[in-house]
């Protein structure tokens, strides 16, 4: 891997931490709706599948080492054993899928490609991880775990739209920054 990619991966991961400072919109239960998951989908769109994956893997790795980089200053190993552990572990895979889909949709406008990519990566795939984690930690069955987690899907759909708006705006301002184009 080139040094330039290595720097991009690291700085993008740092960016995700900074996005965690944007005040979260309070939601009904545990998982807050934050700009941070926005960053996960954006990682895929901006860096492409592989670098997106690596940058999220690096982010999650450093969180596990003990850095409070998740929104609200959360971090450490506790994150990986709680009921929402699946989501954190799914971040790299969600970024990969988002980037992969967005790359396949090059012909569509940036907005549409980013939106569809985010729905596939940031919702479909991420929830597979999230629901599996929830099921393993709480011992609920698949159906009930899915029902509980489904509460967050409307909020996340809003986020995919925002992701697409941000991707489009960045593409306008700096076309070279979007790797999936």
């Amino acid at each position: 891997m080139k040094d330039k990619s290595l720097v991009q991966i690291a700085l993008y991961a740092a960016l995700i931490a900074a996005l965690g400072l944007i005040p979260p919109v309070p939601f009904l239960t545990g998982i807050p709706i934050t700009a941070q998951t926005l960053g996960v989908m954006l990682a895929g769109v901006m860096l492409g599948p592989w670098r997106g994956f690596l940058s999220m893997a690096l982010f999650i790795f450093v969180v596990a080492l003990g850095a409070p980089l998740l929104s609200g200053g959360r971090g450490g190993l506790g994150v990986f054993v709680g009921p929402t552990a699946g989501f954190a572990i799914g971040f790299p895979f969600a970024a990969f899928a988002t980037g992969w889909v967005a790359e396949r949709l090059k012909r569509l406008p940036v907005f549409a490609a980013a939106l569809i990519g985010s729905i596939v990566g940031g919702i479909l795939l991420l929830y597979v991880f999230g629901i599996t984690g929830f099921k393993l930690v709480t011992g609920n069955d698949w159906l009930r775990s899915t029902q509980i987690m489904a509460v967050y899907i409307p909020g996340d759909l809003v986020k995919t739209v925002i992701t697409a708006i941000v991707a489009q705006a960045v593409y306008k301002g700096m076309p070279s920054a979007v790797a999936t184009r």
């Binding site: 720097v7 944007i22 545990g30 954006l42 080492l65 850095a67 971090g75 960045v170």
Partner: protein
């Protein structure tokens, strides 16, 4: 760099990081077969005792689970309703024990020590021709640039408030992203000028 580590000297701090990680894994696995709520209570009390042994403010650190409270209420309520009170209490205690223990490892282990402890786990990366030294470099770079980008973010938030604020604060993600991309270009140029990342 900001870290959850608590600078003190306790018996937990002196324990090697690898031993703590293995202990954590062992406890999490050992708890699974337990199905009687009463048996878990002593373990829970022992974990709280370990927090108390961190010295002043130690017990207050148990509040780390505060953001999870609404979710706990939901999960426990469901479990009670669909199964039994015993099952609900087993689940709640097991979650608390594992989360608190994991956090205890984080509180008492320096990030460098943790990194060293997990380095052997990174050796398989060599099969994919990834040099663990480059992973270490990426971690260092991330740790260095978190405060830098956080400062940029706080500046943008201040400016946003000064302009009257509003609900669409997520719009700040756009300038943030462009800033980070520019910065990444500068850093890689600076790195190239210094001969690149040193591999072994």
């Amino acid at each position: 760099m900001i870290s959850l580590y608590v600078q003190r000297q306790t018996w937990l701090h002196r324990m090697p990081a690898g031993a703590k990680l293995i202990g954590l894994a062992a406890v999490s696995v050992a708890l699974y077969p337990v199905t009687t709520a009463w048996w878990l209570l002593p373990v829970l009390i022992a974990v709280a005792g370990a927090y108390a042994s961190l010295g002043p403010g130690g017990l207050a650190r148990l509040w780390i689970v505060k953001p999870l409270v609404p979710m706990f209420v939901l999960i426990v309520g469901l479990q009670w309703w669909t199964q039994s009170l015993n099952a609900a209490l087993v689940l709640l205690q097991r979650m608390l024990i594992v989360i608190w223990l994991a956090n205890l490892v984080t509180l008492t282990t320096r990030m460098e020590a943790m990194m060293e402890a997990v380095m052997p786990l990174l050796t398989p990366l060599k099969w994919f021709r990834v040099d663990p030294a480059r992973v270490a470099f990426a971690v260092a770079l991330l740790v260095r640039f978190v405060p830098v980008l956080m400062a940029v973010m706080l500046n943008l938030l201040e400016a946003w408030k000064a302009r009257g604020g509003g609900r669409q604060v997520w719009r700040l993600a756009i300038p943030m992203m462009i800033n980070a991309i520019r910065m990444s270009d500068h850093v890689s140029e600076a790195l190239a000028a210094r001969g690149g990342v040193h591999s072994r």
